[in-house]
């Protein structure tokens, strides 16, 4: 629950040098969800009374060393890790997914797309399971959403000994329009077609496609809004950030 007993989630969007989807997230939360949102610069700390945190896409630190690796070491991530430990809902999209993997908050790593191409297009994602705060009440197992992706390093990898866990923790898989998950619906070579995966506890989600870019009919659909609405509703219900 947010501060002052108001039953609506408070959001934070983390901004690194080189983030370029931060304002998309701010717009989606402030203008579409109509929630309070604070932008947090990478040198600062995420306020304690925040219920939901977004780590946006872009090219933090110019993708130097490895995508997301330098951002993962920046001061703001200490507070993000504290929030993760107390159950705050945290979503990392695209570069944000890479940052969360590099920070050790999610399993696995993201490699260069198997095709070597930067791929920018809409993709279908099959919801892989029920019982996640990122979907509950808005998407159920088998539901398919269509949202955009745009990345060169989205090829998700986990070592063989972690594959079973990653399979259990998968929340979204690249699919066709009917929810068929096959080699031909895999845009980047990701193991098991994984597009989005949570930590074991289930309060941290990383995904390559962009839900925050699919929140208005005017710009191609509102499927992504399901994820943001689910976070918003379920964070307050569980009082994760209080």
């Amino acid at each position: 629950m947010g501060s002052g007993g108001v039953v609506s989630a408070r959001w934070a969007v983390v901004v690194f040098p080189g983030s370029n989807c931060d304002q998309d997230f701010v717009h989606a939360v402030r203008d579409v969800l109509e929630r309070e949102v604070v932008e947090v610069w990478h040198k600062d700390a995420v306020p304690e009374d925040v219920d939901c945190i977004a780590i946006p896409g872009g090219f933090s630190y110019g993708d130097y060393l490895r995508a997301g690796s330098l951002a993962a070491m920046s001061p703001v991530m200490r507070s993000v890790k504290e929030h993760a430990a107390k159950g705050t809902l945290i979503i990392g999209v695209c570069n944000g997914f890479q940052v969360l993997c590099e920070a050790g908050l999610l399993p696995g790593a993201l490699m260069k797309n198997a095709s070597l191409r930067f791929r920018c297009m809409d993709v279908y994602l099959r919801t892989a399971r029920n019982g996640s705060p990122f979907t509950d009440g808005f998407l159920k197992e088998g539901d398919v959403i269509r949202i955009p992706m745009a990345h060169g390093y989205g090829n998700y990898y986990v070592p063989a000994d972690q594959a079973e866990a990653a399979g259990r923790q998968t929340l979204f898989a690249y699919s066709d329009a009917d929810g068929g998950v096959e080699v031909g619906t895999n845009p980047n070579g990701s193991v098991m077609n994984i597009a989005g995966v949570t930590n074991e506890r289930g309060n941290v989600l990383g995904m390559m496609p962009h839900p925050e870019r699919a929140v208005e009919y005017l710009v191609g659909g509102t499927d992504g809004l399901n994820i943001l609405k689910a976070m918003d509703a379920n964070a307050v219900k569980t009082g994760a950030g209080a």
């Binding site: 696995g108 790593a109 260069k112 986990v158």
Partner: protein
């Protein structure tokens, strides 16, 4: 001051798509002798330490936790100037 050279490469069991693309390109340009290419990163570090022994643990951690991603990459390092 020590100068340390670090090399980081994708592990042998990880497909190196960049290396494969370079292999195809250079063979296409006539360099038929090139049977394989692996791409990596090279770092020269200046380490404020008297000798390699006193800095060894820290260099190992730096290489294993930061300069490489242990899920994907191997590293090696050597002191090139002390």
């Amino acid at each position: 001051m020590l100068k340390v050279h670090v090399l980081v490469h994708l592990r042998p069991d990880i497909m190196d798509v960049q290396g494969q693309a370079i292999r195809e390109a250079v063979r296409g340009a006539g360099h038929d002798v090139v049977a394989g290419v692996r791409v990596g990163k090279s770092f020269y570090l200046e380490i404020d330490a008297a000798d390699a022994d006193s800095a060894r643990d820290e260099i190992e951690r730096l290489c294993g936790e930061t300069l490489s991603n242990p899920l994907l990459e191997d590293y090696s390092w050597e002191v090139v100037e002390s």
